[in-house]
């Protein structure tokens, strides 16, 4: 409710400003992306909100293609408004999902900035511009870190304090609000809401390098239907078969469970080289979301208008194995299989090695080719669409060719 109230308030204020003065700035960005893959079992997807995969033989133009339009308005010397809509393939389309930014910013001094409304999530290093393909070296951001975040906005408030520190710029941002997104299980998807988001982002920015540390905790506001069915099923098991069934099902619940996102990242421009690295961690009080470590390291070499790059990325999460002491699994084999399948949904385990080349066709247009070679571990296919019912280890090659622009 808060999010709609916030958004509506912002838009109404902007309409008022629009009537007062029609001095708007327009800009846009976009990507036309071709994606190919070589797996019949694992369908490539950009992130876990997407419910359609790219399989062997597919010629896909939707996974990475998008078109964004941004409007900005300076209302006074200290107040401005920004709104952004991004047309892209979304699961369960709605008007709200296409609006990624809609906020008022108040900057009373160079040190302080307050934003109210819809902002981009600042959970990991580049979460807030992961869809702006021309802004980063790669054809696609490492899915091992960013593919696990289905949220594209936060409705709320953030406060940023920026100051100079030892010949560098230090900024700290706290943000709070709510969000929503989709999580796709195979062909199906379910909405998932985040409540009580509270995050801190610290940045030390020097001439040619930047270091960031981020920590966000939030509560999941709803139970997915898939999880609810499983919980209901567990609760039907008689106590004489499974004594702690209710406790176990409560631990599986997502609703009102705390989930945290943490990350440390750095990027450095060293002569013609760009080095980027990030390690991230997701934890939750719900046993449905296992602890997950992920990260990547990238090295890029710039030669005139070409940038050659290589990326290594990984996810690492413990696989859930049903080993409750007060129940004999042989009495409830289907339920045990369902619990293990559900509890391992977020247990992503894979490693990707990438090679690519970006070609700056002009200052505002870039072509980018990336080859990804991904080793998916047994039961580690969270980031892929898999409707086969089995999750064996497999190596998948994905090829991406994008042309991106920003005007």
């Amino acid at each position: 409710m808060l999010k709609y109230y916030t958004l509506t308030s912002v838009l109404l204020l902007v309409n008022f400003a629009c009537i007062a003065n029609d001095d708007w700035q327009y800009s846009g960005f976009g990507t036309l992306g071709l994606t190919l893959s070589d797996s019949d079992r694992y369908g490539y997807r950009k992130d876990i909100s997407v419910n359609e995969g790219v399989y062997s033989g597919d010629v896909d133009f939707l996974a990475h293609s998008l078109l964004g339009l941004q409007v900005e308005k300076k209302i006074t010397d200290n107040i401005d408004f920004t709104s952004q809509a991004v047309l892209r393939k979304v699961t369960e389309p709605s008007l709200s999902k296409y609006f990624t930014l809609a906020f008022l910013r108040y900057s009373p001094s160079v040190n302080w900035s307050f934003r109210l409304g819809r902002t981009a999530p600042d959970i990991f290093f580049i979460t807030d511009y992961r869809d702006i393909n021309i802004a980063h070296t790669w054809a696609a951001v490492p899915g091992e870190v960013y593919g696990l975040i289905p949220y594209r906005h936060i409705d709320g408030l953030d406060i940023t304090y920026t100051t100079q520190f030892l010949d560098s710029t230090f900024s700290s941002k706290i943000f709070t609000g709510v969000s929503d997104g989709d999580i796709a299980y195979g062909d199906n998807s379910e909405p998932i809401d985040l409540d009580s988001i509270l995050g801190l982002s610290l940045t030390l920015d020097h001439t040619n390098w930047i270091v960031q540390a981020k920590h966000t905790h939030t509560k999941l506001a709803n139970e997915t239907l898939t999880n609810q069915y499983l919980i209901d099923f567990i609760n039907t098991v008689p106590e004489f078969i499974w004594e702690d069934a209710e406790q176990f099902s409560n631990d599986l619940r997502l609703k009102n469970k705390k989930t945290t996102y943490s990350s440390i990242s750095t990027q450095a421009y060293l002569s013609d080289f760009i080095l980027t690295a990030e390690v991230a961690r997701i934890t939750s009080d719900s046993t449905s979301i296992p602890k997950l470590k992920s990260g990547y390291a990238s090295i890029a070499y710039q030669f005139n208008s070409l940038t050659f790059y290589s990326v290594y990325a990984f996810t690492d999460s413990p696989n859930f194995k049903f080993n409750e002491e007060n129940v004999d699994p042989s009495l409830i084999p289907e339920l045990v299989a369902a619990i293990e399948s559900s509890s391992n949904y977020f247990a992503s385990n894979q490693k990707t090695f990438s090679l690519g080349c970006r070609w700056d066709l002009s200052a505002n247009v870039a072509a980018n080719f990336q080859w990804k070679n991904t080793d998916i571990d047994y039961d580690g296919d969270t980031l892929w669409i898999n409707t086969s019912g089995q999750s064996p280890a497999e190596t998948v090659n994905t090829y991406m060719l994008n042309v991106s622009f920003a005007l």
């Binding site: 930014l101 906020f103 160079v110 702006i132 021309i134 802004a135 200052a363």
Partner: protein
């Protein structure tokens, strides 16, 4: 004949000389002459034009003016300041602008326009060829290319 030969020789010398002069015209970072700031460090200039900390040393908010196209002076400025191409600079500003972190600098189509705007804006800062300097502008940093 001598008159024509002199004309051709002078023309052939002058034509390439004009762009050569423009290319060699040093780039200076200028502010309004009424601004109390006298000098800036390279780091301060980078902070302002890369949107890291857009203020003068006395704490006043700076208003950065830039050029809006792939002009030679813009390429030279960013190459000399941060060693990055215009494509790299635009990629950098795309992430800042489209993530909503901050608004981009106000942009103009020529260095002359930038100079004129700075003359009329007390807290403005921009880069221009040294040849466009007037007594209403103050040089706070000169780029060594």
């Amino acid at each position: 004949m001598n008159k024509w030969l002199s004309f051709i020789l002078l023309t052939s010398l002058c034509l390439p000389a004009y762009p050569q002069t423009m290319t060699n015209d040093p780039i200076v970072i200028v502010i309004n002459a009424q601004n109390p700031i006298d000098k800036m460090t390279r780091s301060e200039v980078i902070d302002i034009f890369m949107g890291k900390y857009v203020a003068f040393a006395n704490g006043d908010k700076a208003i950065a003016f830039d050029l809006n196209s792939e002009q030679d002076i813009k390429k030279r400025f960013y190459q000399a300041l941060v060693g990055r191409s215009l494509a790299s600079i635009n990629a950098y500003w795309s992430r800042i602008r489209f993530s909503g972190r901050m608004r981009v600098s106000q942009q103009f189509s020529s260095s002359q326009e930038v100079a004129n705007e700075i003359e009329g804006t007390k807290l403005a800062i921009g880069y221009i060829p040294k040849s466009l300097l007037t007594n209403k502008l103050k040089v706070v940093y000169e780029l060594n290319e």
